[in-house]
Amino acid sequence: MNRIIKIIFLDILKNKIIVAYTLILAVLSWSSFGLEDNSAKGLLTILNIILFTVPLVSILFATIYLYNSSEFIELLLSQPIKRKKIWLSLFLGLSLSMVLAFFVGAGIPLLINAPDSVGLMMLIIGSLITLVFVALAFLSSILTRDKAKGIGIAIMAWLYFALLFDGLVLFLLFQLSDYPIEKAMIIVTGFSPIDLARIQILLHLDVSAMMGYTGAIFKDFFGTSVGLLISFLLLCTWIIVPFLISLVKFRNKDL
């Protein structure tokens, strides 16, 4: 298993797209930290990277990589290796290299320019978001054999979580504004990994505003260690559940 992970890991690191992704992240983060004398703008740029670029690249790259290595997967299947092992090592190889790219690109400037709880939180959350979207890529690529369809599903998933979901929440908020929906909204955020990530970072970044009326309710939940634990567990669920579904499908798949 370790050897398969190693092969995939090294294969991806040689990939030009990953190198470009790392470079782009690095250029964006270093330049945004360098532009202003306070680190707030740089942090905002990295926040947007985590909420926007990281999910997109993670899910697209992983999906395409899986489709492109279908022959390699078939070759592996012809060997006496368990399917579970193959799939798991694919996942670990892919996610390790993506997390490494994020860490080198955005993590290093983050730790140098904002070496506090905000920076650390962003680093952890960014890595988790990478893992979530790699897992979603595994799911979307197993759902269909058709590469175009698979990539389509991946893009739709990204679009949904990055944009449409927030639109829906905003719509609900204003439609149901006459009802006490604050608590329900906390539950709703659990349905989108990007929202979970965003709120955790917000509580560190905009603490003064989040202490306002409704913010206090969020802070009471997300800001406590129990809430922190729950939202991390939820993020982990977002990694484990899609991957497990894809694993079951892969095991039973007729190749």
């Binding site: 927030d166 202490m211 306002g212």
Partner: protein, 402 residues
């Protein structure tokens, strides 16, 4: 000549456990007008001590006056009394009589300085005083609930007061002013009080300068007043639902200059406020730098720095009758082609999302989401929901050196 002779006849009366006079009450009884009473180190449990003659009342090495949680400790009922260097502790607790650590009853020229007040219901209370000085006192209490504790320095219906260099914490309001005129509050530190750091009502023609108001329950509140000058104060870390760095209600013709507002939920909240000049202040890392309700009129906000606030502005309506000019906004994204330091594109400090959150606070959940950022950007280009005259026509490109 008469004054001079009275000085010559002034005596010093020593009070202390090892002196001939052991009771403060007896010393006051024996004292003549103009005498000095020196109280030496020790604990004095004498109930309510009433100073009803013009005396200089000095404590050596902070003698403790203990109210035993039953009495008002020190009552000043004569003009020109000096109270200096006591440790006044444990006054009684009653909501009808408001027992205090030190209370001045309808007198003038009283000086209260260098005292420590610990665990009193009210700290220092000036009732109908004139020309009084309260200086260098440390006032501490341990209130938990608003109803169960009085104010640190409470001034009512007074004139010409000077409140200088006191440290107040743990009371209901740090400093409370009601019907107090022509007075100055200078170099005080008011922190961790349950309600307001400074509470200010119906008090015209006052100034508060270079004070620190930090981490109070609801910040500082200035209400129903005109001609107030607020210079060089620090308003910090007032967090919570209805907590403001500075809350202004029904204020007119006042000046807010050179203050620093940092890490408050709202830096300044204005309601029914008219003809105020807000100049050369720094707003940093607040949730809302300013909330200007639609009931405010003819206020001028000029030459301020707005840095790293979550929202620069908030409002509750579409009516804007205030002026914004030559401020520095760190969120400004315009350009400056002629290099005169003033941006060529007007800046709209009110973001769409600030309006949405005002209408529906739960929307805070979506803050900094990508979709909201998109909406905000398009609103900045083409204002449709936010009032288009909420605008700074000459935003600065670089922050002011404040």
């Amino acid at each position: 000549m008469l004054l001079f002779s009275s000085f010559l006849h002034a005596h010093i009366i020593d009070v202390g456990p090892k002196k001939s006079i052991k009771s403060i009450k007896k010393a006051i009884y024996l004292a003549k007008i103009g005498d000095t009473i020196i109280v030496h180190k020790g604990t004095y449990k004498e109930g309510n001590i009433i100073i009803d003659k013009k005396v200089v009342f000095i404590g050596k090495d902070f003698p403790i006056l203990d109210g035993q949680k039953k009495y008002e400790v020190l009552s000043v009922k004569a003009d020109s009394v000096v109270v200096d260097g006591f440790k006044v502790i444990r006054s009684g607790h009653a909501t009808l009589e408001d027992p205090c650590g030190i209370k001045v009853y309808n007198k003038k020229n009283v000086i209260i300085q260098n005292n420590i007040l610990d665990d009193n219901f009210f700290g220092i209370y000036i009732q109908n005083g004139r020309n009084c000085l309260i200086k260098n006192n440390t006032i501490i209490a341990y209130g938990k609930e608003e109803q169960e504790i009085g104010n640190g320095i409470h001034c009512w219906k007074s004139d010409n007061l000077q409140i200088i260099a006191n440290k107040i914490s743990g009371h209901r309001d740090g400093i409370y002013f009601e019907f107090v005129t022509n007075s100055v509050i200078w170099r005080n530190i008011s922190s961790k009080n349950i309600r307001y750091g400074l509470h200010f009502m119906f008090s015209n023609d006052d100034a508060y300068i270079t004070n620190v108001f930090k981490n109070n329950g609801a910040g500082v509140s200035v209400m129903f007043t005109k001609n107030v000058k607020m210079f060089n104060n620090y308003f910090e870390e007032n967090w919570g639902d209805s907590a403001y760095g500075l809350f202004l209600k029904e204020i007119s013709d006042s000046q807010i200059i050179g203050n620093k507002f940092s890490r408050n939920t709202s830096g300044i909240h204005m309601e029914g406020t008219n003809r105020i000049l807000i100049e050369k202040n720094v707003f940093q890392a607040n949730g809302w730098a300013m909330k200007i309700q639609a009931s405010c009129m003819d206020n001028e906000i000029v030459n301020n720095n707005f840095i790293a606030n979550t929202f620069d502005m908030g409002t509750n309506g579409s009516l804007v009758l205030n002026k914004f000019n030559t401020n520095y906004w760190d969120k400004y994204e315009g350009y400056d082609l002629n290099k005169d330091g003033v941006g060529d594109v007007p800046y709209h400090p009110l973001s769409l999302f600030a309006v949405l959150v005002e209408k529906n606070p739960a929307a805070m959940l979506l803050f900094r989401s990508f979709m909201i950022t998109l909406l905000d950007k398009s609103e900045k280009v083409l204002p449709s929901i936010t009032p288009d005259n909420f605008v700074d026509n000459s935003p600065l490109m670089h922050s002011l050196p404040l």
